[in-house]
Every structure is written in structure tokens, then in C-alpha cells.
Symmetry: C3
Subunit: 270 residues, 3 copies
């Protein structure tokens, strides 16, 4: 069904949406660079008032709890509420939910105070947020369960779009499920691959407001995975080379090449 | 007039000045690496007492508000005041001034409490700080006005050197204006290009205390832009390759090559 | 004696230990990427409760004071104490000890409240922590003294393993000293080379609990230095290229190649 996603990448590059990221210290630079490579316009904030104002002019907001502390939680909540008022999409990345009670509690607080458009996490994180059984190691998911069912259950329970990333990415709304089949194992050898995808999804949503959000999220995940495959075609010796080939691919991969190489399947009804 | 700037790069490499950076989370690593590649010695600080002590032994201090919050504002003010006492140059990068009232107010507070040697920003930021008309999108400048006049007005109003970066860099004191004509559009596709330039300017100032500061700032901006052109000669496929070719160029570009390729013009009297 | 270290790298790659890093903002991304390239599993934390919980499931904890402020000091102490309870190794990197009284005091507080397994720093930092004479410039060591004697004295005084990095790395316990002779000057042109080594040492310790800790620390330092030499074999034009070749080398350098190229000598009794 990838043909239906055609045009969504070019929308990002034409509209260059302003994306506000309240994100973790590990990936903050990579996030800015990923969005710039893609053609979007990143902005970051560390102060509640600053974030509230910026959310009013942004096209979308990404919230990520990877190195959360109290002051950032306040900033994050302000950003989310302000985005809700402005009617722009809010994507939540619950990094390490389930790994500690501090993180799990923070996610619950965010979900209760901010209307989230899309939740993006690995299997373990999504399972933790929705009390499903799964395996975690630190902030990495090591579960081997049925990821499609996991995503479907989560989307239904939370009544939002859920993107579970891993070997395959599963994108599920309460009523429909799509699966992207591209990518490379090398993505697990660089930090922040999932985190940056959260921001890329936000940019796609901001630039494609007229389209079906589940298809927009799928377009973002599919484009991202195909870009990773393009990076592997340059034969990196390791994750150092790969990271920068990947960033180049976010910049130079065309809509046509992506659509040609991307594989997206329907995951059945929920 | 580029011949007059000759020798200023070698001074940095010989003296290896210690530069303290109170900067934003997005660019903090890139700043350290940019200064190391250039041959300077970076140090960072996140605590007021720590920053106050370090400013006493540094050759220059860079202040950047890109991810400002309250604790960092305190650190930044301490660093600036301590640098003033030590008589070393202080460069201010007002990232996103004009984008939010929080940032604009912070810049005003800094300008009122710390004697700034050089203000470096894009057109929108400099316009916001000096109440001139311009266009902003998030923290990016999208104005199309007369950047030379903008810089001249700002330098006169603030009575300091102002560096407005963009397609051309305009460096203006209250009495003289210089323009660098090098660079590449690819610099807009990596984060932190302007922020790191602020630290490079600080390093040039620290190592060239006997020279005319407007010429020293121009040397820094010109060298930086020529290094970016050198990086483009290696034909990067995108911003990933470019960023590291650029860092290599900061390391390997010689004084002679820079002077040969650099174009600097006088911008007329203020 | 390098043959005695054989197998320690493969242990890291097989066990993929979870390493918690409470580290500075400059190197936090590079630390995550270095550990992932090596084959370990990084996790970061910025909140005391979060850190306390994570330390209970981690294989080792790295503490680094490079951009310390009050909230992080609290997190760092919680992480250390929790690691002590869990009986896992704790490595301390006293970045800039001696450069400011704030840093020196923080290190003393940490040493008094947390049982540290390994202290890793440059000569100036180790000298500052142990009140020995040495030279500092900002957070960089510029002393020219007898680094072997410095390490021996520090290990004896603190009753722990001390790793002094520089042109040679000297690893000393209270009763034995080892020296690694590999490496490249280019490591001084990228930020965080020493900081990431602290995390690599932590990963080696976590994966080799049955082995003699001084030999494990030496294996980590030796592997890291040989990886840097491998990166130089790809002829980087500067520190930009080098950093990513080095990360690739952490990923692809085999146990056999490392052992073949590594040079480790005994440093005499203490």
C-alpha cells in the first residue's frame, strides 16, 4: 500500500515545519541534525515559559523522557498543554518506561495531562505503558512476543496511534494496523535511532495535516527505514560511518526512491 | 583587505587559548570538538562557582542561550561578570532572541549586567535585540532586509561589535563595517554552525589581544567560511559527511590557503 | 603480558553488560555511541530515584563530573551508593579536579560517600585528587612529571585502582602497575576520549567480574588505544574523520588483532 503514502515526504521538504523537541541530552544534537537533514526546522527548549511560547508557533511537538528530571518534566508538560491549545500534533517517546518507576510514573502523568497524538516506543516501553507482558534490559526492549498484537492492544487501550519500533515497525490506530518491513540491524548500534524517528514522525504529521495520521506515521517510519538501507549500501565499516551515511540519506533520498524500495503491509483489523 | 588579517589564525594555533563555553545542550559537544580541531582548548561549566573560577584562568568566555533555564542563566551571569573582572573578551550568542519573550528578556538582562565584547547572531536575533524589523521562524532568521544596515544600526545602538551571520557575514563596530563573502548553503543543514562560530570568534579574540577586535572577528568568520568551502570540495553527499569534512578543515586549513581563498570587503562607514 | 588479557574483550561482546552513565553533557552522546559500538548497552539518568533503580539492574556505573551542578551531584551520589549496595563496580572520572575548588570538593565528597572501584583521569586530575604536584590548563593536564610514580602514589593513597591516561596509560593498584604503550596524538584533538574510556573500563569490569580488576582495566585501556591506532590506519584528514573511524574500530577490532598489536608492560612494584 506504499503508493498511498506518496507525496508525504515532499510535503515535509516543501513546508519545512518548525518542530519543537523537549528531548533527552543524549540525542538532542542528533535530533536537530536529523530534522535539518530531512528538511524540517528544529527548535529546542529547556524552560516552561519558553516552551509554552514556542509551541504556539511550532507545527508539532516531540516529548521524550530519556534523561528526565523535575525541571524538564515541568517544561515538557507546559509544552504539551500549549501544543494541545494550538491544536498541533504531540508525539510522546516514553524512553525507559518500565525500567524504573520514576519513568513509568512520569509517562502516566504526561498521558493524564496532555493529549498525545502518537506514542512511539520499543516493545518493552509500549508494554510497560499499557501493562502488557514483555522483556526489558535497561532502556532496551528484549521481548520476543507478538509485536503486532502488542501494538494493537496498546492503540485500543490508549485510544491513540501507537508506533512500536524494532526489527519491523508496527503502526496501529484503534482501528487499523500497518507494518513497515525495511531497516537494518545497524540501527541498534547507534544511540538515538528511535528517538530521532519520534521527531521525524512529528515533522511528517506537521506537514501532512490533511492526510490520515496513521498513514502519515507509516510514511515517516517507512522513509526512515529505507534511508537506513540506503546508508548500508555505502558499506559502512561500523556504526561511526553508518551514522553519517544515514544522515546523508535523510537528506538525499528522494520520494521516488523511497516509494520504490519501501515495503508496507496491512496488519489486519484490530 | 584580507591580507591585513594574516597571522591571526596561527596565533590561535600557537597560543591554544583556553575558552570557557556556557552554551546550549544541542551544540555543546560540537563546540568542544570545533575548538579542539582549530587548536584551542575548550572548557565547559554548569555551576556558578565553577564558572566564576574558570573564567579567571580562561582566555575568553562564550555565552549562548539556546537551551537556557534558570540555573544556567545564573551560571552564565557569573561567568560573564568574572570574565569582565579578569578583563577577557565575552562573546554573546542570543539564540532565539525575538522568538520568545523569555529569551528576549534574558538577553536584555545579560546585556545589562555583563559587558559584552561581541554579539553574534542571525539577522532575526540581532534585529530582536535592537528592536529593528526582521523575520523569524522559531530560532531561524527568515528576514530579507538589508543585513549590512541591520548590523551597522545594532553596533551603533549597543556600542559593541556585532556579527550578523547568514549568506554573507557582516561584522560591524560603531565606526566600521566588514563583510565576508565565503561560505556554503550546506552550513544551514547542520545544527550549531552559528553557535560554534561564536566560540571560534572567542578563540581568535583570546589569541589576538593586540589586534583590532573588528579585524579579529572578521578573521574568525572568514576562516570559518573558507573552511566550509574546503569541506564542500570533498563533495559530501549530505550534511552528515559535510559536518566531519568541515571539522577536518578547521584542523587542516592553513593560514596561507585561507588568506588565498578568503574574500573580505569594506562595508562603508556607519 | 598482553596474552594474559586475552578473552576479556569477547566477554564484553558476549555479555553486553548494561552500563549506567551519570556523565557530562559534552560527551553523553559519544559515550552512548562508544558503548554501543563496543557491544555494551548504555543507559543514562538525570534523576536520583531513577538512577538508584537503574543501578540495581546495571552491570556497572560510571560517574563523571565534567559539567556537574547540584542536582546532578545528588543523582551521582545516589547512583554510586546504589551501585555499592548492588555490589557492582563504580568508576569515577574527576574531570577538571584541581581546576576549580568546586570540582575538587565534589570529588572529595564522592570519594567519602561512595566506594569507588577505579579512578580514571589525566595526570593533573589525579594529582589534584591526591595532592601531588602537577600542571593543569583548564581541564587539560599539562604536567610533565613522572606519571608512573604519580599513579603508584595515588593508588596507594586512595587504596583503589587508578588509571592515569595520557601519551601512555598507567594503571596502578596499591600493589602492581601496568603500562599500555599504544595510542595516537589525534585522541587529544577530539573531546571526550578520556571520558568514553571511563565507560569502556566500566563495561570491561562488568563483563569480567572473575578476573583481576587491574588486568581488566588494562585490557580496556589497551583495546581502546589499539582501536585508535586502527582508526589512524584509515588515514583521517583530521579529527572529524578520525572520530568516526575510531568508533568503527571499537566495533570491528577483533580480540586477535588487538592482542597482536597491543603492548603492555609491567611498571614495577609500588
Amino acid at each position: 500500500m506504499i503508493e498511498q503514502l506518496k507525496g508525504m515526504l515532499d510535503q515535509v521538504r516543501e513546508k519545512q515545519p518548525l518542530i519543537m523537541n523537549i528531548t533527552n541530552q543524549v540525542v538532542i544534537q542528533q535530533t536537530a541534525n536529523g530534522l535539518l537533514a530531512l528538511g524540517a526546522s528544529p527548535v529546542m527548549s529547556s524552560h516552561p515559559e519558553d516552551a509554552r511560547e514556542l509551541a504556539q508557533v511550532a507545527g508539532g511537538v516531540l516529548l521524550n523522557i530519556g534523561t528526565l528530571q523535575e525541571a524538564q518534566l515541568e517544561t515538557l508538560l507546559e509544552a504539551g498543554k500549549s501544543a494541545n491549545k494550538a491544536g498541533i500534533p504531540v508525539v510522546l517517546d516514553p524512553v525507559g518506561a518500565g525500567a524504573t518507576s520514576y519513568r513509568t510514573n512520569a509517562v502516566n502523568k504526561i498521558l493524564s495531562e496532555v493529549k498525545i497524538s502518537v506514542l512511539r516506543g520499543n516493545g518493552g516501553e509500549i508494554a510497560a505503558v499499557t501493562n502488557q507482558h514483555w522483556g526489558m534490559k535497561g532502556v532496551d526492549s528484549v521481548g520476543q512476543g507478538d509485536v503486532v498484537q502488542l501494538a494493537k492492544n496498546a492503540a485500543k487501550q490508549l485510544d491513540m496511534i501507537v508506533v512500536v519500533t524494532g526489527e519491523k515497525d508496527v503502526i496501529s490506530s484503534p482501528s487499523r494496523t500497518l507494518i513497515t518491513e525495511n531497516g537494518t540491524e545497524m540501527l541498534t548500534r547507534i544511540t538515538g535511532a528511535g528517538c530521532v524517528l519520534g521527531s521525524v514522525i512529528t515533522a511528517f504529521l506537521a506537514a501532512n495535516r490533511e492526510s490520515d495520521p496513521i498513514e502519515v506515521c507509516t510514511a515517516a517510519a517507512s522513509f526512515y527505514s529505507v534511508a537506513a538501507e540506503k546508508a548500508m549500501e555505502r558499506k559502512p565499516k561500523g556504526p561511526g560511518d553508518f551514522e553519517f551515511y544515514f544522515r546523508d540519506a535523510l537528506y538525499e533520498l528522494s520520494e521516488a526512491e523511497w516509494i520504490k524500495q519501501g515495503i508496507v503491509t496491512e496488519g489486519g483489523t484490530v
